[in-house]
Structures are given as structure tokens and as C-alpha cells.
Amino acid sequence: MRSILTALAATTMLTGTAMADAHAPALEGTLRIISDMSNPAPRAVMEKLAADFDAMHENLEVELEIIDREAWKSQIRNVLSANPPDVINWYAANRMMPYVNAGLLEDVSDIWADIEGLDSVKGALTLDGKQYGIPYTYYQWGVYYREDIFNELGLEEPATWEQELANCQAILDSGRKCYTIGTKFLWTAGGWFDYLNMRTNGFDFHMALARGEVPWTDDRVRQTFANWRELIDMGAYIDDHQNYSWQEALPFMVNGDATAYLMGNFAVAPMREAGLSDDQIDFYQFPAINPDVELAEDAPTDTFHVAAGAQNKEAARAFLKYVVSADVQTQINAGDALGQLPVNANSSVDDDEFLNQGFTMLSENSSGGVAQFFDRDFPAEMAALGMEGLQEFMVFPDNLEDILQRLEQARERIYAN
């Protein structure tokens, strides 16, 4: 930490006067940021963001603290209640709701009026008509597959469910599994459910289910599970997936024991590191199941928020505006930085095979809508119970009736409060 601060101080001295914008309001004091961008590449991005912002403002000192991403999920509540910093990282949609309800996050609707190009993600940051944070990055989900194996078997990227099933059968016949997945930490199963349900019943139905307006025992939900079961009964998924984390499931795809992975774009980096070249990996949009529903996608958004108890709200707001500006968005989401999609429509997407495909898919081919993710769209408790049920279904599909009854019971209780 000290070395970061020293580095920050040094940059301030060297470039502070040169970079300071004469027109910006003079910010003073200290800006405390707590970030969960703890993986190596995001960490470098965050440190640079803090250093640059510090350099821009002569009289402002930026203090950055980076906390492990998983640990932050349980630490955030203590940090926000006792001695809150000015700016924190978190997630959009329902994931921020408990903190908004408890009055721990600042209403920043005022700065949304000054920002352009964020309309597509505004909904995810809005609760009761007010905005409680700003997004800084998002990424597409989709099927990442082994292009070389598809070529070897003469398969095409599927566009319909029938093609998907036919492809899978061909892959199984070649002695491989269709999909790798690790469900030990449950959320990966949530991704599959999101897609199957949005393809079977559409985005609006999926969101109604997330809001608790549709019973889990509804026939339309059952249809989603019936579609899912087709894959499970074929033996499409790797065995014993309940033992693996998502990272532990990667080798199956790298070794060619499984050919595809339904994942977020963050899976590309470890695949490349494991030795797969871009000729070997490719990406396709999850195929249509019900031709009557428009395609909708999962694209989780990561966010910055101002704590309600922040000491330096003026600087915090200025930092949020800085992060979403088109240039900064281009810079931090580039392939050599976060390697994800910028949220500002005026920024440019880095020239990367997967970012380009993802950007085109989300901007041109997801007319149904863009969801956050199972564990961000559903309220916390429903998400936890739901994902557990989904995992059980993937291992014991015969337990479906019991699972649905259990989830329905939970729905009646959770949304009643």
C-alpha cells in the first residue's frame, strides 16, 4: 500500500500541474476508494485510474485500497456501515438493493443528467426511479467453443435448438462431452437457466420470474426445465461437475474432453493462458429455442457507487463522471486492460475477436433485452436457493418436482416480506 501511495505522490508532483484542468471545480482533501478489482489485470487498471485522477487534481489525494473480490462480497456490509469510504465497487440490479434500502448508497441521479451515452445500462442502476451508481464495464455471455474440434467434425455454429442438439449428438458420438461446467459454487448453473428460460419464454417472462410474479411451478418454467433435460439426458455435460469450480472445469475444454463452455467473456483470458490459440477458440450466441421470442442476453455490469456516509462526496461524484467518460471507458476496457466492453456508447471497442463479436451481438442481436445475471436479477435469498435447486436438477433431473415445490414455497415467503 505504501508503495502505491508513494507512486501516487510521485505522479502527482510530476504531472499534477500539467494535467490539472483549469475548468474543473477544484477538488480538495482525500478521496478514499475501496475496490474489488483484485485480479492482476483489473488491479493494474484500478491503480492507473486512481493515479490518473489524483494527477488531474492538484489538491486532492486519492487513497486506494484493493480487497479480494470474493472477500469483498461479505465485507461490503461492514465497510459501508462503519467508517465508509467515498467510492466502492459493487454490482448492478438487485445485488445493490439491500444496501440502497438500508440507505448506505448515495443517490447519484444528479450526475446521470450530465452523462451521455449510458442509456442502455441505465435501467440496471435504477431503483425506484433513482440511480445509485455508475457502471464501468460489462461483458457478454455466450458459448465459447473449440473451433478446431467443430471443424474436425464438420459442425457449424448452431442457430436453432435442433441444430444445437444435433451438434451435441455428433460431439458425443466422437467420444467427447458437449459442455464443460463446474457447479461447485452454483452460479454457473444460473447462467444456463438464464439462457434456457430467456430462449424458451422470453426476457419479460424471465424478469417477471425474477420479480416473483410468476410461480416456479408454472408450466412455462417447466417447459424450460424440459428443454434443459434434453441436454442432461443426452449426457451433454461433463460428469461430476458438482465437484468443480468454474476454473477447475476449464481443463476439460483445453484438453478437448469437452467442446464448449457457456461463460462470460472473462473465460477467454485463462483459455488463452492455458495454451489455446484464437484459431482454436470461437464464440457463438446461445441458439434460439422458441422462434417466437426475441433473443435476450446476459451481460453483467460491474459498477462504482458512492457511500451514503462518504466524507468527500464532491470528489466521489467527479470520480464517477471521470470513469464513465468515453475516453476513459475506451482505455480501461481495452484488450490489454480489462478486456471487456465499455458502457459508454461513444467509446470504441478494442479490436479483439471476442469483444467485437460480443459488442455486435449485444447491440444488434439482443432485441429482447439485456439481463444482469441470475444472482443479480433475483433477490439474494431467492438466488441462493434457486441456484442450489438448479445444481440439484443438473445432477438428479428426476428431483424436479420436489425442487420446484421447494422454490415455490420460498418464493411465496421471500417476496411477501
Binding site: Q242, E381, A384, E388
Partner: protein, 315 residues
């Protein structure tokens, strides 16, 4: 010898010592106990009552209980009665309790086996004690690799005998037993050390006398050795039962409560409901904690009572 005055002195010399000096013997122990008592009250006794209080509310743990909490009386406990996940956790706790006790006879067995004088016995003893020294997290990791369905050593061993692969941690019926087996490894080592020290205190004359009377083998063990090991057995019981009820780290490392929540125990379930990533039910978590506390209280009360009884007998 000084001669006592015949007439009692009606003007005794004025007491010059201060209040503390006069009461030194009575006060000093309390002064030494004070920091401990203070901390015990603040960090143990008070939270127990706070948990009782919180368990009567519906509260997401954010903000002050008095402002954001809703009093719902025994609502949380009523929900516990119908909560299947709670029932599973409770039964798993029972499994832990009973199976963990196996550590005691196993520890005794190893202790008897190691209680001999051969070259290098110290090395063997430390090797057997080794699992207790390493962290539970490491034990959990090692065992989860051991159990891995494809690459694991266990299945490689089973394959030698032509037995099919088993996925212990992925099977909801076997996973808990798999974790308990991992927990028994360090716990047995602990019990072994307790018995090894106990065996040092066994009276050789009694063993000699028993031998002259023709006792050997199991009879010798059961009627002569084991009764003399009673203090060690008592401690072994206490640490094993408390250890079983506290089990948390192995579960968290090896299965994270899964597959689909079948390996949870009460402490893990409480953590999930109240403090983990999706846990916003402080009140419900507190009610689970209260149940766990009451179970522990039965054992603790029994232990305290039997210690008190022993002390009275000894006096």
C-alpha cells in the same frame, strides 16, 4: 516466645495498613481475574444474549436493529421447524457427533501401539501427530484431491481391486461421511497425544499385580489400563464433541455445503443465512445459532457437572 500481656490492651495500636493491604488476600485473585472476566463478559456472555434478542427479529443486518429490524417473536423458530435445509444440517451435526467419537478409540489404539521403546519411536510419534499440526484447510484440500472422481488416489486404489469409481464429495449421501473421515484424521492424532501422556502416568505396580493375577490382553486393557486413563478419556471426549459441533472449515473447503446443501451443518448454515454472499437474514441466522448453542449447552453442562463432581470426591 513473647509473653502475652495478662491484661488485654484496651488501646490496641491503630491499624496503619491501607484498605488494600488489609484485604490483599481476598482482593488480589479478583484483580487477576478481572481482565479475563471482563473480556469473557463482553465477547462471550453478552453476544449470547444479543443472539437471543436478534433471533426474535426479521433483520437484514444492515443499519441498527432497533430501526431496520421487525419484531416477529418466535417466527424464525417456527420457520426452522419446517425448513428442510435446517433438518438436514441438524442430522448432519448428529452424524458428526457420533462418528467423530471414533477418534477416541482410534487414538487409544495408536497410543497403545506407539507406547513402547524401540529405536526411533519419537520419530514415529511425531509422524502420527503430524496431521494435528497442519491446518484444517490443508487437510481439507488434501482429502478433496484424494477423493477426486477421476484423478484421485482413492479411485486409483479402488480400481486396483476392480471397483468402480466413486465420487464421494459429489454424492449427496456420501459427502458428509467423506468430510467426517477427513476430520477424523487430525482428531485421532489429537486423542493419541492425550492418551500417550496418560499412559505415562499408568502405575506400573498395578500392571505388575494384575499380571501376577493372570490378567492379559483385553482384560488387562479394559479393567486395569483404561480406568487409569480416565482423565485423558474425559478430555478426549470434551475436545472431540466440541470439535464435532464446531466443524466448519472442512465443509467450507471441501464441498462449500454442497452438493445442493447436503453437507451443511448448523454452524455452516448459520453462516450462509446470516453472513455469506447471499445471506441477509441476521434474525434467522441468530435463531440457528441459538439452537446450536442449546445443543452445545447440554454437553457443556454435563462436562461442568462431572468436573465439579470429581472435584468434590477428590476433596
Amino acid at each position: 516466645m513473647a509473653v502475652a500481656p495478662v491484661v488485654p490492651d484496651t488501646h490496641p495500636p491503630r491499624e496503619t495498613r491501607g484498605w488494600y493491604r488489609r484485604n490483599e488476600i481476598k482482593v488480589t485473585p479478583w484483580l487477576f481475574l478481572l481482565p479475563g472476566l471482563l473480556f469473557f463478559a463482553t465477547y462471550v456472555i453478552l453476544p449470547i444474549f444479543q443472539s437471543f434478542q436478534v433471533s426474535l427479529y426479521r433483520w437484514d443486518g444492515l443499519g441498527e436493529l432497533s430501526e431496520t429490524g421487525t419484531f416477529i417473536g418466535l417466527g424464525n423458530y417456527r420457520e426452522l421447524m419446517t425448513d428442510r435445509a435446517f433438518e438436514i444440517s441438524l442430522w448432519n451435526n448428529m452424524r458428526w457427533l457420533f462418528l467423530y467419537l471414533l477418534a477416541i478409540p482410534m487414538g487409544l489404539g495408536i497410543a497403545l501401539f506407539l507406547n513402547q521403546t524401540v529405536v526411533g519411536i519419537r520419530l514415529y510419534k511425531s509422524l502420527f501427530f503430524f496431521p494435528f499440526v497442519i491446518s484444517q484447510v490443508v487437510v481439507g484440500l488434501v482429502f478433496s484431491w484424494f477423493y477426486l472422481p477421476k484423478e484421485g488416489l482413492l479411485n486409483a486404489g479402488l480400481a486396483l481391486f476392480g471397483l468402480g469409481p466413486v465420487n464421494i464429495l459429489g454424492d449427496p449421501d456420501l459427502a458428509t461421511y467423506g468430510i467426517i473421515a477427513a476430520g477424523l484424521w487430525p482428531q485421532t492424532a489429537y486423542c493419541m497425544i492425550l492418551y500417550l501422556t496418560g499412559l505415562n502416568a499408568v502405575d506400573p505396580e498395578q500392571v505388575e499385580a494384575a499380571r501376577l493375577d493372570g490378567a492379559k490382553g483385553w482384560k488387562m486393557l479394559w479393567y486395569v489400563i483404561v480406568p487409569q486413563l480416565r482423565p485423558a478419556t474425559f478430555i478426549a471426549f470434551v475436545v472431540t464433541i466440541i470439535g464435532a459441533l464446531r466443524s466448519f472449515d472442512l465443509i467450507s473447503i471441501m464441498t462449500n455445503g454442497g452438493p445442493f446443501g447436503q453437507t451443511r451443518v448448523l454452524s455452516f448454515y448459520m453462516f450462509e443465512k446470516a453472513l455469506a454472499e447471499f445471506g441477509f437474514r441476521m434474525g434467522y441466522g441468530a435463531s440457528i445459532a441459538v439452537v446450536l448453542f442449546l445443543i452445545m449447552l447440554c454437553f457443556i453442562a454435563y462436562f461442568l457437572w462431572s468436573m465439579w463432581r470429581d472435584e468434590r470426591v477428590a476433596r
